[in-house]
């Protein structure tokens, strides 16, 4: 190995090591980082182009069909996924007071994977409770009230809630619903809605915030359950106000490791390549 090659190796290796712990997630389309601020500008900065919600132009913007991860001030990361829709409520200083997100339809397995890392936000909610709910969905038992959800309540700002919604699709029967609601400081600012339609934030003045025309074929898939593929749906027997799935005491917290698989794989491949190269040089 020449001296030049060795120096190159010395320079490359630390860079690869640093890349291994970079907060950037490989392949992420967008990252909504609420860990430092929660503003309309932040939505634009993430690459989204929200439109003003019809009938709610002074209060709310929305986006549809985006792929994004969400970072929260608590350090929690809602991993990258495809979101069918997002709605953000905005006050007149550009801050967000709420964000409501609904994922694209998920298979039962994907729904379980999505909810598992979030179980730890509420004490007393167990994997068994989650699995019991998923089993009801699998068997197409519809509850009269109380689908599965976990949340922080006021223990965190923003309040975080994750829940499932039924989609009506046979193979992907659930959607993940995530809700964030901020308590503003000072609280009285919460009343300061825009007097006119929400304007684009600084730096995006020329960007249109009009909702694009509705295109039926571009929308989320229609429920595709059919009589021949379905067992007869069953309602629970009692129409009483059923409580949410009863939380058990045992809490397992298989939190998301956040292990940077891609950088480590690249690094491993590079090092392996170097080693093989050197070995070949040594023995040939």
């Amino acid at each position: 190995m020449s001296r030049k090659q060795v120096f190159g190796l010395v320079l490359v290796l630390p860079m690869l090591l640093l890349g291994m712990v970079s907060p950037t997630v490989e392949g992420s389309e967008m990252s909504l980082d609420f860990s430092k601020e929660h503003t309309l500008k932040g939505i634009f900065d993430a690459g989204m182009r929200p439109y003003r919600e019809p009938h709610s132009e002074r209060f709310q913007v929305g986006v549809e069909q985006v792929t994004a991860e969400i970072k929260l001030p608590s350090g929690m990361l809602v991993k990258e996924r495809e979101w069918q829709s997002m709605q953000f409520t905005v006050v007149d200083d550009g801050r967000l007071t709420s964000a409501q997100m609904r994922s694209n339809p998920l298979t039962l397995e994907a729904a379980r994977d999505a909810m598992l890392p979030l179980l730890s936000i509420e004490s007393g909610v167990s994997i068994q409770a989650l699995d019991a709910f998923l089993e009801k969905v699998r068997e197409e038992i519809f509850l009269y009230e109380g689908e599965f959800h976990v949340g922080t309540g006021k223990k965190q700002n923003p309040m975080f809630l994750a829940a499932f919604s039924r989609t009506g699709l046979k193979n992907s029967p659930l959607a993940l619903r995530v809700s964030l609601e901020w308590r503003l400081d000072p609280p009285k600012a919460a009343r300061g809605f825009y007097k006119d339609p929400i304007p684009p934030p600084p730096g995006y003045e020329g960007v249109s915030m009009e909702k694009p025309p509705f295109q039926a074929e571009a929308q989320a898939p229609t429920p595709e359950v059919t009589a021949e593929t379905q067992a007869k749906p069953r309602l629970v027997e009692e129409p009483q106000f059923a409580a949410s799935p009863t939380p058990a005491m045992d809490t397992n917290k298989p939190a998301s490791s956040g292990f940077p698989v891609v950088p480590v794989a690249i690094l491993t491949a590079v090092i392996a390549g170097i080693v093989i190269y050197l070995l070949r040089r040594k023995f040939t």
Partner: protein, 600 residues
């Protein structure tokens, strides 16, 4: 190393390079990612614990009064003169006087009534003692931190004009009108106690020539920036030897009467405390506080007689802290009461989709009547409820069509019994999800919903309600409409989906266009059918259905809110909305029937 030890082996050099670089990497990672542990800001310590000035000087002092007396939740305020028996002690000074040092008056005993007590007067640094001090302490009663809004229906009163139940806080009469407690005083949701000096505490001559007031102070609600909205009433109840017999209600209220008003509080010295007071006191008399209007409130009790003045101020919340299930139960009881008085009691909790429409007619009507009542009692505010009641005509007709025994013969393969159950199921899902927040807000305001969301962690979104609340307070109809739209979005894109799922299963592919498109008439009378707004649209498709609702030109929401711009769609005025909501359900449903000859 690569220069000095250039002859060293390559692997050795790489190895030591990595070893040496790891600290560098660690340093970078530390700077970038290390988070210091959180800490508790303990700066909010008790200022009274600090000693300033020279405590060994004469007793010309400022007394920073802290009374550490917790006698069964009763606080004590200072009263006029005191005497300190000690070296250099002044006498006959008022509390507080002026001076150069701070002291803490430490007191720990249970005061049963006002009297003279000997209190040890100690310098906080312990270096000087001024012996014992005789001071008269006055028991002052306070309200609880959270005073329940007395807005349920224990008194079972009905407004004869509307047939609607009157909440218990609607008037000052505490006697039940019907039920097991008929003609008895109901104090279930009142706080037993008084605000200020209990009239039974001191002799009446103490009040001769005095002015005693209870004032609702004009303060700002920290959460909203608007004026505090809470109000209360005070009651005296005398045991007349007849169970539940009510003697007198203290003529004190906020809003209706001037006794506790902010700008002209009445002098209560004669009517409440005097020797011949109109309001009873003494043995057998108890006092009660009722939460009337929800929200924070700041009350001040004040006594003025010559140079002598003392007061006690308290900020608390008039708020009902109930679970979602308790609010649902309250609706259930109100519906039972109203329907019982009307002649046919309905328990909505007996609603069960499996029983079909014939087994649920009363329950279905009761739920829709609930929406009707919500809107009529909160016109142009509970817009979702009004829209739901208006739309119920088409749903009720669809239930009747699906329940028609011959319907299956006309549409071969369609499981109409399942459609019927799904429609009933959907109605219940909506009621269970969206019915109770309306009752909680109506009864106890936005803070009742905050409690359910923030403390009990229920699955619902607070934001629409804060928009509605702000809109009502600031007369901003756009904000009200925006909040109601979010409720509608939740209903249509989340809550009702399981029911639509069942309907899709029950209708074969061949009939879908017919049933989900052609028969899909607009629930807003005069509005365009779905195929006009979404060509080939399918009401069981969430996105297409929502477009039918949300289109700004001629969608249902634009029609309902009165903002539709299309010449091909109506745009409802406030009067039109009321007319539609008031309309009899059967009469409103008949035009929507496709197969059945009538609705039950």
């Amino acid at each position: 190393m690569w220069i000095v030890h250039r002859k060293a082996g390559l692997f050795k050099k790489i190895f030591w390079t990595l070893v040496l670089l790891f600290p560098l990497f660690g340093w970078i990672a530390y700077g970038a990612f290390f988070r210091p542990p959180s800490y508790i800001d303990s700066s909010d310590y008790n200022e009274h614990g600090q000693t300033t000035g020279n405590a060994s000087d004469t007793m010309n002092v400022t007394i920073d009064l802290t009374l550490n007396a917790t006698a069964g939740g009763t606080n004590y305020a200072d009263l006029f003169k005191y005497t300190v028996n000690g070296t250099n002690a002044p006498s006959g000074a008022d509390l507080p006087s002026s001076g150069s040092a701070n002291f803490t008056l430490q007191y720990s005993a249970n005061l049963a009534s006002a009297s003279n007590y000997t209190v040890e007067f100690v310098a906080i640094n312990g270096s000087a003692s001024y012996g014992n001090m005789t001071v008269a302490l006055l028991p002052v009663e306070v309200a609880p931190e959270f005073l329940k809004v007395n807005s349920d229906f224990d008194e079972q009163k009905i407004d004869s004009a509307t047939g609607y139940a009157k909440p218990d806080n609607a008037d000052e009469n505490l006697k039940a009108e019907r039920g097991d407690n008929q003609n008895k005083i109901v104090t279930d949701d009142l706080h037993k106690g008084f605000f200020g000096v209990n009239p039974n505490t001191l002799p009446s001559d103490f009040y001769t020539g005095a002015t005693v007031t209870i004032t609702k102070k004009v303060e700002e609600d920290d959460d909203t920036g608007r004026h505090e909205t809470g109000t209360i009433r005070l009651y005296a109840i005398k045991d007349l030897g007849v169970s539940g017999e009510q003697s007198t209600v203290i003529p004190i209220s906020t809003g209706e009467k001037p006794s506790i008003s902010s700008d002209s509080p009445a002098n209560l010295a004669a009517t409440l405390y005097g020797a011949s007071s109109a309001i009873p006191k003494g043995e057998g008399v108890t006092y009660w506080i009722e939460g009337v209007d929800p929200g924070p409130i700041t009350l001040e009790f004040k006594y003025v007689k010559g140079d002598l003045t003392f007061s006690n101020e308290q900020k608390f919340k008039v708020l009902t802290k109930q679970t979602k299930q308790q609010w649902q139960e309250e609706i259930r009881e109100r519906i039972k009461l109203q329907t019982r008085v009307a002649g046919d009691e309905v328990d909505v909790n007996t609603h069960h989709a499996g029983n079909g429409l014939s087994g649920n007619v009363k329950q279905v009507k009761a739920v829709y009547a609930y929406y009707q009542q919500l809107y009529l009692q909160h016109e142009n505010q509970f817009m979702w409820a009004g829209m739901a009641r208006t739309a119920s005509a088409s749903i009720y007709a669809a239930m009747a069509d699906a329940a028609q025994p011959g319907a299956a013969g006309a549409f071969v393969g369609v499981q109409f019994d399942e459609v019927e159950k799904a429609l009933l199921y959907g109605q219940w899902l909506i009621y269970a999800d969206l019915g109770w927040p309306h009752r909680a807000y109506e009864a106890s305001g936005i803070n009742a919903l905050k409690y359910v969301k923030e403390d009990l962690n229920e699955d619902f979104t607070l934001t629409p309600w804060t928009q509605i609340d702000a809109g009502i307070a600031e007369e901003d109809q756009d904000a009200i409409n925006a909040g109601n739209r979010e409720l509608l979005r939740r209903e249509q894109t989340e809550v009702v989906l399981p029911a639509y799922n069942i309907i899709r299963i029950a209708v074969p592919e061949g009939w879908r266009l017919t049933i989900f498109n052609w028969f899909a008439e607009n629930p807003m009378p005069g509005g365009p059918p779905i195929q006009n707004v979404v060509p080939d649209g399918d009401i069981t498709n969430t996105a297409q259905r929502w477009q039918w609702i949300d289109d700004t030109s001629w969608g249902m929401l634009a029609i309902w809110n009165g903002t539709a711009s299309s010449p091909l769609a109506p745009s409802f005025s406030s009067a039109k909305r009321k007319e539609l909501v008031e309309k009899d359900l059967r009469e409103a449903a008949r035009p929507y029937l496709n197969y059945a000859s009538d609705v039950p």
